[in-house]
Amino acid sequence: MTEAEIRATLTALFRETLRAPNLELRPEQGEFDIPGFDSGIKVMLILAVEERFAIRLRNREIEALRRFGDWVALVHRHSSPAGG
C-alpha cells in the first residue's frame, strides 16, 4: 500500500468516525485541532485502524501519535515489509 493510499484510507476512517464527510486533513494538523476529536474518538480511531489494516499498535506507538501525518507514517511502517 502506498503512502497516498494509506492517507486516503485514513482520511475516510477519520471522516466516518467523526461523522464529518467533508473533513480535510493535512499531515501537519494536530489531532486535537481536528474538529470533534477527543480522547474517546482517538480510541475508536485506533480500533478502526487496527481492524482496517490488520495491525496491532503498541502503547509507545499510540503515545507518539500527535499529528495526522504521524498516523500515516505509523501505518506505512506497519505496512512495509520490515514494518512492525
Binding site: G40, R58, N59
Partner: protein
C-alpha cells in the same frame, strides 16, 4: 415539538436495563455530570490550555479511578491520555481483585451493564467489580443496541493498554481517597501494581495534621503519599495548582528513588 422517542423508551424497546444513576452515586460525587458537561471541552482544552507545558508532566501519570477528578485535572492542563480508569468510579474493594486477574474481564457478553444516567449519558458498569465508566455517549446520539458493542471494544482495548502500561512501568499510578482509607489497604494496591513491573503508586489524600497540603513522601517501596488541600470532582472546584505541585514532587521523588 420534538417527537423523537426518549432514551428511556428506546432502551426499553431493545431490552436494555433502564436505570438512572442512583442518588447515592450522585450525592457522593463519585461519578456525576461534571465530566460530561466538560466533555465538549476535550479538544479545546488540549488545544487552548494556557497550561500546555504541564501536559508532559501529567502524561506521566495514570489514574486508577476512584473517580474522575484526576482525569479532569489532566484535561485542565491540556493532557489527554487514553487510560482505562481515567473517567471511572473504582472502589478499592473492586480494584484489588481486578488487579489480580489475568483474563480479559470485558470479554463476557454479560459482563457489562449499560445504564442511562439522568444527565443524558450512557454509563457502563462492570458489575462484578463495582466499576462505572463514563462512555461519553449521549443517550440520543447512538441507538442503545450499539452502545454495548462499542463500549465493549473500547474497554477491551483500554484493558490491553493498561496491561502494557503495568509491564512498562513508565508511568506513576494515582489513587485518591479520603482520610478514612488506611495505608495498609493502599499498600496492598501498590504491591499488586508491582507484580507486573517496578511501578509506583501515588496515593493522594486531603491534608491532615503532620501532612500539610503539598507534601509528598515515599512511605514504602513503590508507594508515595501526597496531600492536597481538597478533593473535588467539579471542575470549578478542583485544586489544580495543588495537583500540579503534588505531581511535580512525586515525579521528582520517583526519579530520585526509581524502584
Amino acid at each position: 415539538m420534538n417527537d423523537r422517542p426518549s432514551w428511556r423508551h428506546r432502551l426499553q424497546a431493545v431490552g436494555l436495563p433502564v436505570r438512572l444513576a442512583s442518588d447515592a452515586i450522585r450525592q457522593s460525587g463519585l461519578l456525576d455530570a461534571a465530566w460530561f458537561r466538560t466533555q465538549a471541552l476535550d479538544a479545546a482544552a488540549s488545544r487552548e490550555s494556557p497550561h500546555a507545558p504541564a501536559a508532559a508532566l501529567f502524561e506521566s501519570f495514570q489514574s486508577l479511578g476512584s473517580n474522575c477528578e484526576f482525569g479532569l485535572v489532566q484535561r485542565h492542563f491540556g493532557c489527554e491520555t487514553l487510560d482505562l480508569f481515567r473517567f471511572a468510579t473504582t472502589p478499592l474493594r473492586g480494584l484489588i481483585p481486578f488487579l489480580k486477574i489475568e483474563a480479559d474481564p470485558f470479554i463476557a457478553g454479560d459482563a457489562l451493564e449499560i445504564v442511562a444516567a439522568d444527565w443524558g449519558e450512557y454509563l457502563v458498569s462492570l458489575k462484578s467489580y463495582g466499576f462505572v465508566f463514563h462512555s461519553g455517549l449521549k443517550t440520543d446520539a447512538m441507538p442503545p443496541e450499539k452502545v454495548r458493542d462499542q463500549q465493549q471494544r473500547r474497554l477491551r482495548f483500554l484493558w490491553r493498554k493498561f496491561g502494557e502500561d503495568l509491564e512498562e512501568a513508565n508511568r506513576i499510578f494515582i489513587y485518591k481517597s479520603g482520610l478514612w482509607m488506611t495505608q495498609p489497604r493502599v499498600a496492598e494496591l501498590a504491591a499488586l501494581l508491582r507484580r507486573r513491573g517496578p511501578n509506583h503508586l501515588l496515593w493522594v489524600t486531603p491534608e491532615e495534621p503532620g501532612w500539610p497540603a503539598g507534601t509528598v513522601k515515599m512511605v514504602s517501596p513503590g508507594l508515595m503519599r501526597g496531600t492536597i488541600d481538597r478533593l473535588n470532582t467539579d471542575p470549578a472546584g478542583c485544586s489544580f495548582d495543588m495537583w500540579q505541585e503534588v505531581c511535580r514532587l512525586a515525579h521528582r521523588l520517583r526519579s530520585e528513588r526509581p524502584s
